[in-house]
């Protein structure tokens, strides 16, 4: 690793999209035989940088050197020709083709009579063998393999062209611990063969387990490049979030003064609630009128836990007691009937229905709860719509406008209105303030505080730790799809406390495993 010149050297890379500077003078180096992790929060510019390197985006400024030669990528084919291969987060393979066909797709060995399948399969076997996958039967359809093995096949496919650089974009997001260990064995094997590997993940433990070097980006800017052994977790997180501890502490003290002491029977109690591959079995309790914050980095399993509570995904372990009674919540319909509402983090695909009007979007959940044969009259619909458009200050307050023409913040407010209209006892809000402007954010936070004061139990999920600390009575810290700690909120708790919990626990674990 030391001494050899970098295989990829990107200097001063800038890329602008209309209205946004996605990357601003970012430097990035990749050496042969190293695993290099790219870190940063959502929207920090990680994927933009990767797309610049794979030729998807053209760079506005800067220079890309591959093996010391300047390259101008006009498309992905140019990047591949330069020896850069990519495996994306979602497996991009053909489920109904065989393993061998998938590995060699587009690189089949041709003979005088078209494709020479024998030679093609031989080539596929060679590639799989270099990754330690020689036990796989090439003729089996891909669909019979687990997602983890499919991921390895996808990497094999990328290795067919013998690239010098391999980019792995969140390859572990759908794998369990054993599968990740297998993947890492393969990655180390490739690294030792001299391949330069660029690795993107949200899992901190994995970063420390596999990578030699870390580059941190924040808001499209370059923060720094560090050898992994010289950067401890706490420093890494503060570099990603962009606030030193003093700032984190001062933000924490802005927390609302009221603190709700739960009393009596919990509204909802869950034991061992979990689902294989997405959420480790978790215990939790929720009381009326309390705000429970779920904190953790992206990909820590917050969303997955929330979806289990709502029945959006079916739990495969655990028991839930609602108001003291054992209850199965396996579908959103059942959850709504039990007065639980859930606002998804994916506003565009799982929240708004783009082509319906504001009014129709707002009344949809209430109407679904009542059943279609008991329609809300137009008068009732108008009254509900007017109520929430005013209460939540939606602009423009035009109930008949298709919701797709509203800004993100106003769409979010309409969705909040949709769930409030069902009069829930438990409201789960997954990233309700992501990607919306400061004013709308403050209004949504105020609405959450008001709901809790009225006795609604709220689960509040946000990547902004300050926001979680400010709003919550209790905070569950999550990491790697499991509950790490539960904190009673109070003057001693700040965003820094949470960061410390995430980082410390990881350090301990690393100490154990080594």
């Amino acid at each position: 690793m030391t001494g050899a010149p970098p295989i990829v050297e990107m200097t001063g890379i800038s890329i602008s999209f209309p209205g946004v500077k996605a990357l601003d003078a970012v430097d990035f180096r990749l050496f042969p035989g190293e695993v290099h992790t790219l870190m940063g929060e959502n929207g920090a510019g990680k994927s933009t940088l990767i797309k610049a390197l794979t030729g998807v985006y053209k760079i506005d400024e800067g220079q890309i050197l591959v093996a010391g030669e300047e390259r101008r990528f006009g498309g992905t084919a140019d990047a591949q020709a330069a020896g850069i291969a990519t495996v994306y987060q979602e497996v991009n393979l053909c489920a109904n083709l065989s393993i061998g066909e998938n590995v060699m797709l587009g690189h089949e060995v041709r003979g005088p009579f078209g494709i020479n399948w024998k030679a093609t399969h031989r080539a596929a076997a060679e590639v799989l063998a270099t990754l330690g996958l020689e036990q796989l039967d090439l003729r089996r359809p891909l669909a019979t393999l687990s997602l983890a093995i499919q991921q390895l096949v996808a990497i094999s496919r990328a290795m067919v062209t013998r690239p010098k650089v391999l980019i792995l974009d969140e390859p572990t997001s759908s794998l369990d611990a054993n599968e990740v260990a297998n993947l890492f064995t393969v990655i180390r094997k490739l690294r030792d063969q001299g391949v330069a590997i660029l690795f993107v993940t949200h899992f901190l433990d994995q970063v420390y387990a596999i990578s030699d070097r870390i580059t941190v980006l924040r808001n499209g800017g370059f923060v720094g490049e560090y050898p992994t052994r010289e950067l401890d977790r706490t420093t890494l997180i503060s570099k990603m979030i962009g606030k030193d501890f003093a700032t984190l502490r001062s933000l924490g003290s802005e927390r609302q003064s009221h603190h709700y002491e739960p009393r009596g029977e919990p509204l909802l109690k869950a034991e061992d609630l979990g689902r294989k591959g997405s959420s480790e079995p978790t215990d939790l309790e929720l009381h009326q009128g309390e705000v429970l914050g779920l904190a953790g980095l992206l990909g820590s399993g917050r969303t997955e836990l929330a979806r289990l509570l709502y029945g959006a995904d079916r739990p495969d372990s655990g028991t839930v007691w609602l108001r003291g009674r054992k209850t199965d919540i396996h579908t959103p319909t059942a959850a709504l009937a039990h007065r639980i509402a859930f606002s998804s983090e994916n506003r565009r695909d799982e929240g708004i229905i783009r082509d319906l009007s504001v009014r129709e979007n707002l009344v949809l959940a209430v109407q679904a709860k009542r059943g279609w044969f008991r329609p809300l009259s137009r008068k009732e619909q108008d009254a509900l719509t007017r109520k929430y458009l005013t209460e939540l200050n939606v602009r423009p307050a035009d109930p008949e406008r298709p919701i797709k023409f509203l800004s993100g913040g106003n769409q979010q407010k309409v969705l909040l209105g949709r769930w409030l209209a069902t009069e829930p006892d438990l409201l789960i809000l997954d990233e309700p303030t992501r990607g919306i402007d400061v004013g709308a954010k403050a209004e949504i936070q105020a609405a959450v505080a008001a709901l809790a004061a009225k006795g609604v139990a709220v689960v509040f999920i946000s990547s902004e730790l300050e926001e979680v600390v400010r709003l919550s009575d209790r905070i569950i810290v999550m990491k790697d799809h499991r509950k790490l700690a539960e904190l009673e909120n109070g003057p001693h708790v700040t965003a820094e406390t949470i960061v410390a919990v995430i980082a410390d626990e990881g350090d301990d674990e690393e100490g154990d495993s080594e």
């Binding site: 959006a312 959103p332 695909d349 082509d355 129709e360 279609w372 044969f373 329609p375």
Partner: protein
């Protein structure tokens, strides 16, 4: 003054953009062609003795009834993002069941009612099987209903033993051939059923739910919309309406032709829905549009016969009319025309200036 003109222009724009408008134009154009061929084409006669209206227009309305039924059912299925290829086959099953039952009974009105109930029950059940395959099993609508399309005609042949069964029952035949205040019963029934369906979907929240599923099934699931039971309902309703269409089609001649009754009518139904401005991608739907589309298909069928277009050339003629209509409805084609008109106007102006 100019304000009024602007509003008129805006109103005209809205009408022209409404796809069903072009269906109306197409019906008018076909009728005009027929009038050119025979100036008396549109005349409606009144027979004082029987109190019946007669004429080509009345024939078109009568022929439109079965198509209206399956077009409306198809419209609801398409709204959820699905498709029902089995309506033609369910028609022939309903027809076969009716004729076989009536053949073995005396011609009383009670027997006609019983037969009707059994035939429509079976048609609804077949639709429910489609709905089950789509919503519970999770097969693609195209495949599920394709299977039913193939199976349905087979079932009909088994029921009649491969024969074209004929039966006698005046009450049953009246459904298709009778008249009330001079107008064919079959058309009145069709319109009443369409109105009923319209009330059902638009006066309850069914329409909104179907559109929500068709537009974004993930978001509507999280909003608590019961996709499964709604899909089951919608395919069952489509089956029921296809059963009614089958009764209409067989009652008029009191014979079921197992290889021709309802043959390829699913394609007519899909065309009627598309002509009516409902996108096959699902979402917003228009029952009124589907009715106009159904009337256009019926007019087209009658025109083909009236103009004496040879049977072998009929499909081609139909295809041409529908392609032209789809081109007129296409936003891109219309903007191309606008662009050319603008260019021509500009060049004329330049010529005048020079």
């Amino acid at each position: 003054m100019s304000d009024l003109a602007a509003r008129l222009a805006a109103g005209r724009g809205a009408i022209v953009r409404n796809q069903a408008f072009w269906g109306v134009i197409a019906i008018a154009a076909l009728l005009a062609i027929n009038v050119v061929a025979d100036p008396g084409y549109l005349s409606v006669g009144y027979n004082g003795e029987t109190g019946r209206l007669s004429g080509n227009l009345i024939d078109i309305l009568r022929a439109a009834a079965p198509i209206l039924m399956i077009a409306v059912g198809m419209c609801l299925v398409v709204a959820t993002g699905g498709i029902d290829l089995s309506v033609g086959s369910i028609m022939v099953v309903a027809g076969a069941v009716s004729m076989e039952l009536l053949r073995g009974m005396d011609g009383s009105a009670g027997n006609a009612a019983l037969t009707l109930a059994i035939a429509l029950g079976i048609a609804t059940a077949l639709g429910a099987v489609n709905g089950f395959l789509v919503s519970v099993v999770g097969l693609q609508p195209f495949i599920s209903t394709l299977v039913m399309m193939l199976a349905g005609r087979g079932i009909a042949k088994v029921i009649t033993g491969g024969q074209n069964t004929t039966a006698d029952n005046d009450s049953f035949a009246w459904l298709a051939n009778g008249y009330v205040v001079g107008v064919p019963v079959v058309f009145l029934l069709a319109i009443a059923i369409v109105a009923l369906v319209w009330l059902l979907v638009r006066r309850s929240a069914l329409g909104l739910m179907l559109e929500a599923i068709g537009m974004d099934s993930r978001a509507s699931r999280l909003a608590g919309v019961k996709r499964r039971s709604l899909q089951l309902t919608v395919y069952s309703v489509s089956g029921l309406l296809a059963g009614i269409a089958g009764v209409f089609a067989t009652a008029s001649v009191m014979t079921v032709d197992v290889s021709r009754t309802g043959y390829q009518l699913e394609l007519d139904a899909i065309l009627a829905v598309v002509i009516g401005g409902t996108s096959l991608a699902g979402g917003k739907f228009s029952i009124g549009g589907a009715v106009i589309g159904g009337l256009l298909i019926a007019t087209l069928d009658k025109t083909v016969v009236f103009l004496g277009i040879p049977a072998s050339a009929t499909p081609a003629f139909k295809a041409i009319v529908i392609v032209v209509l789809c081109l007129l409805q296409s936003e891109r084609v219309r903007s191309l025309f606008r662009h050319r008109r603008a260019l021509r106007a500009q060049s004329q102006k330049e010529a005048v200036a020079a």
